[in-house]
């Protein structure tokens, strides 16, 4: 094996880990960063996206449309959840965690009852290509591009659109925004829907690569939480760099000792980072600026 293939292999591992961390964390980070709410049912929104994607693909739609359907359905479920539960708990952040955990339990067990313990998966598209002695899946490259696309899209949404401006105004000083005529409740609803939709998108994108079981959300949430905790409250200054750093930790540990040690590496990283930077990377960056 020569140096070039070795470098490519490392980059591929890194990109794969980065895409997984960023895609699974984005929805959580948007909701946490904008509203201070930790959505413990995040994994179940991902599961919802994956299931809807698989169901629509089985019904004959092409995969991209299926992923879109998964995203939209998750976002709609998000609107309902916000209206029924989250809205009443904004002044009690700890209770939001507890309530969303209850929702997660209902969603997991409800899916188990209604759909069964497993659902037929979707084949991974695009096949693979060869570099050196190893073959790589093209779809993983697509996922990496999708992660970059999501970050770019979020940046555009929050900086260049009217919704983005109103949303940022609402986070900074909610009552001032309300006094200036912003419907803050609507903004919160839409933000929650946006986060839920992003979770659905992650589910849809990863549906072709994994087995669909009601507890599949649990495979995502650890990574998602770790990324958000390390990143802090800001999606761009936090989630993206945290995804980068953690992807290095995870891919190095995984290729050295295996999948589990990749995850243990993440956990150790989060405990150390939190000890050093309690407000995460974005808190550190923002404090440096002011």
């Amino acid at each position: 094996m020569n140096l070039a293939t070795l470098v490519f292999s490392a980059l591929y591992q890194f990109g794969d880990a980065f895409a997984f961390l960023v895609l699974s964390a984005c929805g959580l980070a948007v909701i946490f960063g904008m509203m201070g709410v930790i959505n413990l049912a995040h994994g179940e929104f991902i599961m919802c996206g994956a299931y809807v994607t698989a169901a629509t693909v089985h019904a004959g739609l092409p995969l991209p449309l299926g992923i879109l359907a998964g995203t939209i359905v998750s976002a709609l479920v998000g609107v309902v959840v916000e209206l029924v539960v989250i809205r009443h708990l904004y002044d009690r952040p700890l209770d939001t965690i507890v309530a969303t955990w209850g929702l997660s339990l209902i969603a997991t067990q409800g899916t188990l009852i209604m759909v069964g313990s497993t659902m037929a998966g979707v084949g991974t598209p695009f096949g693979s290509f060869q570099v050196g002695d190893y073959s790589y899946s093209i779809y993983r490259i697509v996922l990496f591009c999708a992660a970059l696309g999501v970050l770019a899209g979020l940046y555009a949404l929050f900086n260049w659109t009217r919704f983005g401006v109103l949303a940022r105004a609402t986070i900074q000083v909610p009552h001032m925004a309300a006094a200036l005529g912003v419907d803050t409740r609507l903004i919160y609803s839409l933000t929650f829907a946006c986060g839920a939709g992003l979770a659905g998108l992650a589910g849809g994108l990863y549906a072709p690569t994994m087995t669909l079981v009601p507890t599949m959300g649990a495979t995502f949430i650890m990574e998602a939480f770790v990324t958000v905790v390390i990143g802090g409250a800001d999606v761009f200054l936090g989630t993206a760099p945290a995804g980068g750093v953690l992807a290095i930790v995870k891919s190095v540990m995984t290729s050295w000792q295996g999948q589990l040690f990749g995850q243990i590496g993440l956990l150790v990283a989060v405990i150390i980072v939190v000890r050093v930077l309690p407000k995460g990377i974005s808190g550190f960056v923002l404090r440096e600026r002011t």
């Binding site: 930790i38 309530a99 209902i106 009852i113 939480f225 405990i271």
Partner: protein
């Protein structure tokens, strides 16, 4: 002597519901019923009651950390699992002779507490609070579950104890009290019942005293306003760490007793669902009081077991609904609400008579 007596005076106070002769009279009646109960019941039911009691310890640990301390820990099951596995590994290696199971009990709980000191140091001295604390503790317990689940291979052994991956460890010896003549083996019926009941009363009364002491008052002050407590000169981090460690030891005791009770422990006892259940008991009971936590836990467990007849998935959906409704409608807990209502009613009645 007076110091000893003043300790007992701490049994009631501002941090615990229930005071006066009426409450302690009721307590004595419940205690008497609990003591007589195994004599009029069959072994299976008694064993099942022990199973309920075992969970009360982890509920009390969460009540202490979350209800009194105000830091929501999702990871109590991590200490549950650590102590459970610790007991299994120790007793399978060293057997149960010479009262070693009791040594293993202390050592396993101490291991859980040590782990809590390590984890708690990073969390509280890193000033993690609120939602982040919950996430880090949850990540820790999920990680432990995944780690234990992959230990199926024969290379995962500590001494002669195989960890057995997802199937978990089993066949560890039950608790054995050395006794002249023949050692007393506490099987999961009447023997273990009295042992666990004794521990439960000890822990319950001990926590009442602790919470009504100055330590407990500081803990509650930190929950109400950490900045103010800090300004008054208390090292918030130290108090939080101590609470966390006591809670972890209680959760460990729970896990250990669970292992003793069923003579098995599996990784799924540290999983997502297992971690959610204590939270439901404590939230539904009323997290900010010890008595309501105990009552709530026993009631929800009984309801859960009754529902499991129709399938455990349905029972779990019901638990989820119960949790969401409690948070939305009665955030202080159902049992605590009822207890406060009864207290007010009794006060009004005595006022009218007097």
């Amino acid at each position: 002597m007076t110091g000893f007596l003043s300790l007992f005076r701490r049994l009631e106070g501002p941090q615990t519901v229930g005071r006066g002769p009426a409450f302690w009279g009721l307590f004595a009646v419940v205690l008497a019923v609990a003591l007589v109960y195994p004599l009029v019941s069959d072994g299976y039911t008694v064993g099942n009651t022990v199973y309920f009691f075992v969970w009360v310890f982890i509920a009390l640990s969460l009540c202490l950390i979350w209800g009194y301390g105000g830091s929501l820990s999702f990871g109590q099951t991590a200490f549950f699992g650590i102590a459970g596995y610790g007991y299994g590994i120790l007793t399978i290696n060293f057997g149960s002779a010479y009262g070693f199971t009791l040594v293993a009990l202390v050592v396993a709980v101490a291991i859980a507490a040590l782990f809590a000191i390590l984890l708690g140091y990073f969390m509280f001295f890193g000033r993690i609070a609120g939602v982040f604390l919950g996430i880090v503790t949850l990540a820790v317990t999920l990680m432990l579950e995944r780690f234990m689940a992959q230990t199926a291979g024969p290379e995962w052994r500590i001494g002669s104890a195989r960890l057995n991956g997802f199937n978990g460890m089993s066949a560890m010896p039950p608790l054995t009290i050395p006794w002249p003549g023949e050692p007393i083996v506490l099987f999961a019926d009447v023997g273990l019942y009295y042992f666990v009941l004794g521990l439960l009363i000890f822990v319950y009364l001990g926590l009442r005293m602790l919470m009504n002491s100055s330590f407990g008052n500081v803990i509650v002050a930190i929950r109400e306003n950490p900045e103010r407590a800090e300004m008054l000169g208390y090292d918030v981090r130290k108090y939080q760490l101590i609470t966390f460690v006591i809670g972890a030891a209680l959760a460990g005791l729970s896990g250990l007793l669970y292992t003793v009770w069923g003579q098995y422990i599996t990784p799924s006892s540290m999983g997502m669902t297992a971690a959610a259940l204590p939270l439901i008991w404590v939230a539904v009971g009323g997290r900010s009081d010890l008595t309501s936590t105990v009552i709530g836990t026993l009631m929800v467990l009984a309801a859960f077991q009754a529902l499991t007849i129709y399938g455990s998935q349905y029972a779990l959906v019901f638990m989820g609904v119960l949790l969401v409704l409690t948070v939305l409608i009665a955030p202080n807990g159902l049992v605590l609400g009822a207890m406060n209502w009864l207290g007010r009613l009794a006060a009004r009645l005595t006022q009218r008579i007097g």
